[in-house]
Assembly symmetry: C2
Homo-oligomer: 200 residues x 2
Protein backbone atom coordinates (compact mmCIF):
# COMPACT_ATOMS: atom_id res chain seq x y z
CA UNK A 1 0.00 0.00 0.00
CA UNK A 2 2.99 2.25 -0.36
CA UNK A 3 3.46 1.81 -4.07
CA UNK A 4 0.24 3.69 -4.60
CA UNK A 5 1.68 6.78 -2.97
CA UNK A 6 4.60 6.68 -5.35
CA UNK A 7 2.20 6.21 -8.27
CA UNK A 8 0.10 9.16 -7.17
CA UNK A 9 3.24 11.24 -6.75
CA UNK A 10 4.16 10.40 -10.34
CA UNK A 11 0.67 11.31 -11.54
CA UNK A 12 1.11 14.80 -10.09
CA UNK A 13 3.14 15.51 -13.26
CA UNK A 14 0.05 14.75 -15.32
CA UNK A 15 -1.79 11.76 -16.75
CA UNK A 16 0.15 8.66 -17.69
CA UNK A 17 -0.45 5.13 -18.92
CA UNK A 18 0.70 2.03 -17.07
CA UNK A 19 3.31 1.68 -19.73
CA UNK A 20 4.54 5.24 -19.25
CA UNK A 21 4.92 4.64 -15.55
CA UNK A 22 6.58 1.29 -16.12
CA UNK A 23 9.38 2.68 -18.20
CA UNK A 24 11.01 5.17 -15.96
CA UNK A 25 8.08 5.94 -13.74
CA UNK A 26 7.88 9.32 -15.33
CA UNK A 27 11.69 9.33 -15.06
CA UNK A 28 11.76 10.77 -11.59
CA UNK A 29 9.84 8.77 -9.00
CA UNK A 30 11.47 5.56 -10.26
CA UNK A 31 14.74 6.70 -8.79
CA UNK A 32 13.50 6.10 -5.29
CA UNK A 33 10.63 3.69 -5.80
CA UNK A 34 11.10 0.89 -8.29
CA UNK A 35 8.21 -1.24 -9.50
CA UNK A 36 7.69 -3.81 -12.22
CA UNK A 37 5.08 -3.22 -14.96
CA UNK A 38 2.75 -5.89 -13.57
CA UNK A 39 2.85 -4.29 -10.20
CA UNK A 40 1.91 -0.94 -11.68
CA UNK A 41 -0.94 -2.22 -13.84
CA UNK A 42 -2.46 -4.10 -10.94
CA UNK A 43 -2.09 -1.21 -8.55
CA UNK A 44 -3.59 1.23 -11.05
CA UNK A 45 -6.60 -1.06 -11.49
CA UNK A 46 -7.11 -1.29 -7.74
CA UNK A 47 -6.72 2.44 -7.37
CA UNK A 48 -9.27 3.00 -10.10
CA UNK A 49 -11.63 0.71 -8.19
CA UNK A 50 -11.15 2.87 -5.13
CA UNK A 51 -11.64 6.09 -7.05
CA UNK A 52 -8.11 7.39 -6.48
CA UNK A 53 -7.37 7.59 -10.19
CA UNK A 54 -9.56 7.76 -13.25
CA UNK A 55 -8.80 6.28 -16.64
CA UNK A 56 -9.65 7.39 -20.13
CA UNK A 57 -8.99 5.25 -23.17
CA UNK A 58 -7.07 6.91 -25.96
CA UNK A 59 -7.62 5.36 -29.35
CA UNK A 60 -4.42 5.18 -31.31
CA UNK A 61 -4.05 4.40 -34.97
CA UNK A 62 -0.67 2.80 -35.37
CA UNK A 63 -0.25 1.44 -31.86
CA UNK A 64 -2.37 -0.41 -29.33
CA UNK A 65 -4.88 1.79 -27.53
CA UNK A 66 -3.85 2.96 -24.15
CA UNK A 67 -5.49 3.95 -20.91
CA UNK A 68 -4.31 7.22 -19.48
CA UNK A 69 -4.68 7.54 -15.75
CA UNK A 70 -4.97 10.73 -13.82
CA UNK A 71 -5.30 11.59 -10.18
CA UNK A 72 -8.86 12.26 -9.01
CA UNK A 73 -9.75 14.79 -6.35
CA UNK A 74 -10.17 11.88 -3.93
CA UNK A 75 -6.70 10.62 -4.85
CA UNK A 76 -5.28 14.04 -4.29
CA UNK A 77 -6.85 14.22 -0.85
CA UNK A 78 -5.49 10.80 0.08
CA UNK A 79 -2.05 11.78 -1.15
CA UNK A 80 -2.15 15.00 0.85
CA UNK A 81 -3.17 13.12 3.96
CA UNK A 82 -0.27 10.75 3.40
CA UNK A 83 2.22 13.60 2.96
CA UNK A 84 1.02 15.40 6.06
CA UNK A 85 0.47 12.25 8.10
CA UNK A 86 2.71 9.96 10.14
CA UNK A 87 6.47 9.75 9.89
CA UNK A 88 8.00 8.27 6.75
CA UNK A 89 9.38 4.76 6.98
CA UNK A 90 13.15 4.72 7.06
CA UNK A 91 14.93 4.33 3.76
CA UNK A 92 15.11 0.68 2.64
CA UNK A 93 18.06 -0.41 0.57
CA UNK A 94 18.84 -3.73 -1.07
CA UNK A 95 22.21 -3.79 -2.69
CA UNK A 96 23.70 -7.04 -3.95
CA UNK A 97 26.91 -5.29 -4.88
CA UNK A 98 27.54 -4.47 -1.23
CA UNK A 99 26.96 -8.10 -0.29
CA UNK A 100 29.61 -9.08 -2.80
CA UNK A 101 32.04 -6.45 -1.56
CA UNK A 102 31.47 -7.69 1.98
CA UNK A 103 32.58 -11.12 0.74
CA UNK A 104 35.56 -9.90 -1.26
CA UNK A 105 38.02 -11.72 1.00
CA UNK A 106 36.32 -15.08 0.64
CA UNK A 107 38.62 -16.62 -1.95
CA UNK A 108 41.59 -15.84 -4.14
CA UNK A 109 42.51 -13.34 -6.80
CA UNK A 110 39.76 -14.49 -9.18
CA UNK A 111 37.08 -13.65 -6.65
CA UNK A 112 38.58 -10.24 -6.01
CA UNK A 113 38.63 -9.67 -9.76
CA UNK A 114 34.94 -10.56 -10.03
CA UNK A 115 34.06 -8.07 -7.31
CA UNK A 116 36.23 -5.46 -8.97
CA UNK A 117 34.36 -5.96 -12.22
CA UNK A 118 31.02 -5.64 -10.44
CA UNK A 119 32.11 -2.40 -8.79
CA UNK A 120 33.38 -1.04 -12.11
CA UNK A 121 30.01 -1.82 -13.67
CA UNK A 122 28.23 0.04 -10.90
CA UNK A 123 30.47 3.05 -11.40
CA UNK A 124 29.65 3.04 -15.11
CA UNK A 125 25.93 2.80 -14.52
CA UNK A 126 26.03 5.52 -11.92
CA UNK A 127 28.02 7.76 -14.24
CA UNK A 128 25.44 7.31 -16.99
CA UNK A 129 22.60 7.94 -14.57
CA UNK A 130 24.27 11.05 -13.22
CA UNK A 131 24.66 12.41 -16.75
CA UNK A 132 20.95 11.83 -17.37
CA UNK A 133 20.05 13.55 -14.13
CA UNK A 134 22.20 16.53 -15.08
CA UNK A 135 20.37 16.84 -18.38
CA UNK A 136 17.03 16.67 -16.58
CA UNK A 137 18.23 19.36 -14.22
CA UNK A 138 19.22 21.67 -17.06
CA UNK A 139 15.87 21.12 -18.72
CA UNK A 140 14.10 21.99 -15.46
CA UNK A 141 16.17 25.08 -14.82
CA UNK A 142 15.77 26.23 -18.42
CA UNK A 143 18.43 28.88 -18.10
CA UNK A 144 17.45 30.13 -14.67
CA UNK A 145 19.77 29.86 -11.69
CA UNK A 146 18.85 27.44 -8.95
CA UNK A 147 17.88 30.32 -6.67
CA UNK A 148 15.61 31.85 -9.27
CA UNK A 149 14.05 28.50 -9.97
CA UNK A 150 13.39 27.64 -6.34
CA UNK A 151 11.92 31.06 -5.65
CA UNK A 152 9.62 31.20 -8.66
CA UNK A 153 8.73 27.70 -9.88
CA UNK A 154 5.27 26.37 -9.17
CA UNK A 155 6.59 23.00 -8.09
CA UNK A 156 9.96 22.33 -6.51
CA UNK A 157 9.42 18.74 -5.30
CA UNK A 158 10.67 17.07 -8.47
CA UNK A 159 13.74 19.30 -8.47
CA UNK A 160 14.59 18.46 -4.87
CA UNK A 161 14.23 14.72 -5.40
CA UNK A 162 16.36 15.02 -8.51
CA UNK A 163 18.99 16.61 -6.31
CA UNK A 164 18.69 13.56 -4.10
CA UNK A 165 19.31 11.28 -7.04
CA UNK A 166 22.31 13.34 -8.06
CA UNK A 167 23.77 13.20 -4.56
CA UNK A 168 23.24 9.44 -4.42
CA UNK A 169 24.94 8.74 -7.74
CA UNK A 170 27.82 11.07 -6.96
CA UNK A 171 28.34 9.18 -3.71
CA UNK A 172 28.16 5.87 -5.55
CA UNK A 173 30.78 6.92 -8.05
CA UNK A 174 33.16 8.30 -5.45
CA UNK A 175 32.83 5.24 -3.28
CA UNK A 176 33.22 2.88 -6.22
CA UNK A 177 36.34 4.60 -7.49
CA UNK A 178 37.90 4.53 -4.04
CA UNK A 179 37.14 0.83 -3.73
CA UNK A 180 38.67 0.10 -7.15
CA UNK A 181 41.82 1.96 -6.17
CA UNK A 182 42.07 0.36 -2.76
CA UNK A 183 41.56 -3.16 -4.03
CA UNK A 184 44.08 -2.66 -6.83
CA UNK A 185 46.62 -1.34 -4.33
CA UNK A 186 46.00 -4.25 -2.03
CA UNK A 187 46.28 -6.80 -4.84
CA UNK A 188 49.62 -5.23 -5.76
CA UNK A 189 50.80 -5.24 -2.14
CA UNK A 190 49.84 -8.89 -1.65
CA UNK A 191 51.40 -9.51 -5.07
CA UNK A 192 49.84 -12.86 -5.85
CA UNK A 193 51.50 -14.21 -2.73
CA UNK A 194 49.28 -14.94 0.25
CA UNK A 195 46.12 -14.34 -1.76
CA UNK A 196 46.94 -17.15 -4.14
CA UNK A 197 47.45 -19.57 -1.29
CA UNK A 198 44.01 -18.71 0.07
CA UNK A 199 42.30 -19.50 -3.19
CA UNK A 200 41.74 -23.21 -2.72
Amino acid sequence: MALRNAVMAALLEGEASGYDLAKGFEASVANFWMATPQQLYRELERMEGEGLVSARVVQQERRPNKRLFSLTEAGRRVLRAYVAGGPAKPLAIRDELMVKVQCVDIGGAEDVAAVLAAVAERVERSTAKLARYRRMQERMLAGRTEDEYLATAERVGPYLTLQGGIALEKGNIQWGETVLERLAQRAAALGGGPAATLSG
Copy 2:
Protein backbone atom coordinates in the same frame (compact mmCIF):
# COMPACT_ATOMS: atom_id res chain seq x y z
CA MET B 1 16.80 -16.27 -2.60
CA ALA B 2 18.94 -13.20 -2.20
CA LEU B 3 18.48 -12.75 1.51
CA ARG B 4 20.47 -15.92 2.05
CA ASN B 5 23.51 -14.38 0.42
CA ALA B 6 23.33 -11.48 2.82
CA VAL B 7 22.95 -13.91 5.72
CA MET B 8 25.95 -15.91 4.60
CA ALA B 9 27.95 -12.71 4.19
CA ALA B 10 27.09 -11.85 7.78
CA LEU B 11 28.11 -15.31 8.96
CA LEU B 12 31.57 -14.76 7.50
CA GLU B 13 32.25 -12.72 10.68
CA GLY B 14 31.61 -15.83 12.72
CA GLU B 15 28.67 -17.77 14.14
CA ALA B 16 25.52 -15.92 15.11
CA SER B 17 22.03 -16.65 16.38
CA GLY B 18 18.91 -15.59 14.55
CA TYR B 19 18.46 -13.01 17.24
CA ASP B 20 21.97 -11.66 16.74
CA LEU B 21 21.34 -11.29 13.03
CA ALA B 22 17.94 -9.72 13.63
CA LYS B 23 19.25 -6.89 15.71
CA GLY B 24 21.65 -5.16 13.43
CA PHE B 25 22.49 -8.05 11.20
CA GLU B 26 25.88 -8.16 12.75
CA ALA B 27 25.77 -4.34 12.53
CA SER B 28 27.21 -4.22 9.04
CA VAL B 29 25.27 -6.21 6.48
CA ALA B 30 22.03 -4.67 7.75
CA ASN B 31 23.06 -1.36 6.27
CA PHE B 32 22.50 -2.60 2.74
CA TRP B 33 20.17 -5.54 3.26
CA MET B 34 17.35 -5.16 5.73
CA ALA B 35 15.33 -8.11 7.00
CA THR B 36 12.82 -8.70 9.75
CA PRO B 37 13.47 -11.30 12.48
CA GLN B 38 10.88 -13.69 11.06
CA GLN B 39 12.46 -13.54 7.68
CA LEU B 40 15.82 -14.40 9.15
CA TYR B 41 14.61 -17.29 11.31
CA ARG B 42 12.75 -18.79 8.38
CA GLU B 43 15.65 -18.38 6.00
CA LEU B 44 18.13 -19.82 8.49
CA GLU B 45 15.92 -22.90 8.92
CA ARG B 46 15.70 -23.41 5.18
CA MET B 47 19.41 -22.91 4.79
CA GLU B 48 20.05 -25.46 7.50
CA GLY B 49 17.84 -27.88 5.60
CA GLU B 50 19.96 -27.33 2.53
CA GLY B 51 23.19 -27.71 4.44
CA LEU B 52 24.39 -24.16 3.88
CA VAL B 53 24.60 -23.43 7.58
CA SER B 54 24.84 -25.64 10.63
CA ALA B 55 23.37 -24.92 14.05
CA ARG B 56 24.54 -25.77 17.51
CA VAL B 57 22.43 -25.18 20.59
CA VAL B 58 24.05 -23.22 23.37
CA GLN B 59 22.57 -23.84 26.78
CA GLN B 60 22.33 -20.65 28.78
CA GLU B 61 21.61 -20.26 32.44
CA ARG B 62 19.91 -16.95 32.88
CA ARG B 63 18.47 -16.60 29.40
CA PRO B 64 16.65 -18.78 26.88
CA ASN B 65 18.90 -21.21 25.03
CA LYS B 66 20.01 -20.12 21.64
CA ARG B 67 21.00 -21.71 18.37
CA LEU B 68 24.22 -20.43 16.91
CA PHE B 69 24.51 -20.78 13.16
CA SER B 70 27.72 -20.98 11.22
CA LEU B 71 28.55 -21.26 7.56
CA THR B 72 29.30 -24.79 6.38
CA GLU B 73 31.85 -25.61 3.71
CA ALA B 74 28.95 -26.11 1.30
CA GLY B 75 27.60 -22.70 2.25
CA ARG B 76 30.98 -21.16 1.68
CA ARG B 77 31.19 -22.71 -1.77
CA VAL B 78 27.72 -21.45 -2.69
CA LEU B 79 28.62 -17.98 -1.44
CA ARG B 80 31.84 -17.97 -3.44
CA ALA B 81 29.99 -19.04 -6.56
CA TYR B 82 27.53 -16.21 -5.98
CA VAL B 83 30.29 -13.63 -5.54
CA ALA B 84 32.16 -14.77 -8.65
CA GLY B 85 29.01 -15.42 -10.68
CA GLY B 86 26.68 -13.25 -12.75
CA PRO B 87 26.33 -9.48 -12.46
CA ALA B 88 24.82 -8.03 -9.30
CA LYS B 89 21.27 -6.75 -9.52
CA PRO B 90 21.12 -2.99 -9.59
CA LEU B 91 20.66 -1.22 -6.28
CA ALA B 92 17.02 -1.18 -5.17
CA ILE B 93 15.83 1.74 -3.12
CA ARG B 94 12.51 2.43 -1.46
CA ASP B 95 12.32 5.79 0.14
CA GLU B 96 9.04 7.17 1.41
CA LEU B 97 10.67 10.43 2.33
CA MET B 98 11.49 11.08 -1.31
CA VAL B 99 7.88 10.40 -2.27
CA LYS B 100 6.82 13.02 0.25
CA VAL B 101 9.37 15.52 -0.98
CA GLN B 102 8.17 14.91 -4.53
CA CYS B 103 4.70 15.93 -3.31
CA VAL B 104 5.82 18.94 -1.29
CA ASP B 105 3.92 21.33 -3.56
CA ILE B 106 0.61 19.52 -3.20
CA GLY B 107 -1.00 21.77 -0.63
CA GLY B 108 -0.31 24.76 1.57
CA ALA B 109 2.16 25.76 4.22
CA GLU B 110 1.06 22.99 6.60
CA ASP B 111 2.01 20.32 4.09
CA VAL B 112 5.38 21.92 3.46
CA ALA B 113 5.93 22.01 7.21
CA ALA B 114 5.15 18.29 7.47
CA VAL B 115 7.69 17.49 4.75
CA LEU B 116 10.22 19.74 6.43
CA ALA B 117 9.76 17.85 9.68
CA ALA B 118 10.19 14.52 7.89
CA VAL B 119 13.41 15.70 6.25
CA ALA B 120 14.72 17.00 9.56
CA GLU B 121 14.02 13.63 11.13
CA ARG B 122 15.95 11.90 8.35
CA VAL B 123 18.90 14.23 8.87
CA GLU B 124 18.92 13.42 12.57
CA ARG B 125 18.79 9.68 11.99
CA SER B 126 21.51 9.86 9.39
CA THR B 127 23.68 11.92 11.71
CA ALA B 128 23.31 9.33 14.45
CA LYS B 129 24.04 6.51 12.04
CA LEU B 130 27.10 8.29 10.69
CA ALA B 131 28.44 8.71 14.21
CA ARG B 132 27.97 5.00 14.84
CA TYR B 133 29.73 4.15 11.60
CA ARG B 134 32.64 6.39 12.56
CA ARG B 135 32.99 4.57 15.86
CA MET B 136 32.95 1.23 14.05
CA GLN B 137 35.59 2.53 11.69
CA GLU B 138 37.86 3.58 14.54
CA ARG B 139 37.43 0.22 16.19
CA MET B 140 38.36 -1.53 12.93
CA LEU B 141 41.37 0.63 12.28
CA ALA B 142 42.54 0.24 15.89
CA GLY B 143 45.14 3.00 15.58
CA ARG B 144 46.41 2.05 12.14
CA THR B 145 46.05 4.38 9.17
CA GLU B 146 43.65 3.38 6.43
CA ASP B 147 46.58 2.51 4.14
CA GLU B 148 48.15 0.29 6.75
CA TYR B 149 44.86 -1.39 7.44
CA LEU B 150 44.02 -2.06 3.80
CA ALA B 151 47.49 -3.42 3.11
CA THR B 152 47.69 -5.73 6.12
CA ALA B 153 44.23 -6.73 7.34
CA GLU B 154 43.01 -10.24 6.60
CA ARG B 155 39.59 -9.01 5.54
CA VAL B 156 38.82 -5.66 3.97
CA GLY B 157 35.26 -6.30 2.75
CA PRO B 158 33.54 -5.11 5.93
CA TYR B 159 35.68 -1.98 5.94
CA LEU B 160 34.82 -1.15 2.34
CA THR B 161 31.09 -1.63 2.87
CA LEU B 162 31.32 0.50 5.99
CA GLN B 163 32.83 3.20 3.79
CA GLY B 164 29.80 2.80 1.57
CA GLY B 165 27.50 3.34 4.52
CA ILE B 166 29.45 6.41 5.55
CA ALA B 167 29.27 7.85 2.04
CA LEU B 168 25.54 7.21 1.90
CA GLU B 169 24.78 8.88 5.22
CA LYS B 170 27.00 11.85 4.44
CA GLY B 171 25.10 12.29 1.18
CA ASN B 172 21.79 12.02 3.02
CA ILE B 173 22.77 14.67 5.52
CA GLN B 174 24.07 17.10 2.92
CA TRP B 175 21.02 16.67 0.75
CA GLY B 176 18.64 16.99 3.68
CA GLU B 177 20.25 20.15 4.96
CA THR B 178 20.16 21.70 1.51
CA VAL B 179 16.47 20.84 1.20
CA LEU B 180 15.69 22.33 4.61
CA GLU B 181 17.46 25.54 3.64
CA ARG B 182 15.84 25.76 0.23
CA LEU B 183 12.34 25.12 1.50
CA ALA B 184 12.77 27.66 4.30
CA GLN B 185 14.01 30.24 1.80
CA ARG B 186 11.11 29.53 -0.50
CA ALA B 187 8.57 29.73 2.30
CA ALA B 188 10.03 33.12 3.23
CA ALA B 189 9.99 34.30 -0.39
CA LEU B 190 6.38 33.23 -0.89
CA GLY B 191 5.66 34.74 2.51
CA GLY B 192 2.36 33.08 3.24
CA GLY B 193 0.99 34.76 0.12
CA PRO B 194 0.39 32.50 -2.88
CA ALA B 195 1.09 29.36 -0.87
CA ALA B 196 -1.81 30.06 1.46
CA THR B 197 -4.22 30.48 -1.42
CA LEU B 198 -3.22 27.07 -2.78
CA SER B 199 -4.03 25.33 0.47
CA GLY B 200 -7.74 24.70 -0.12
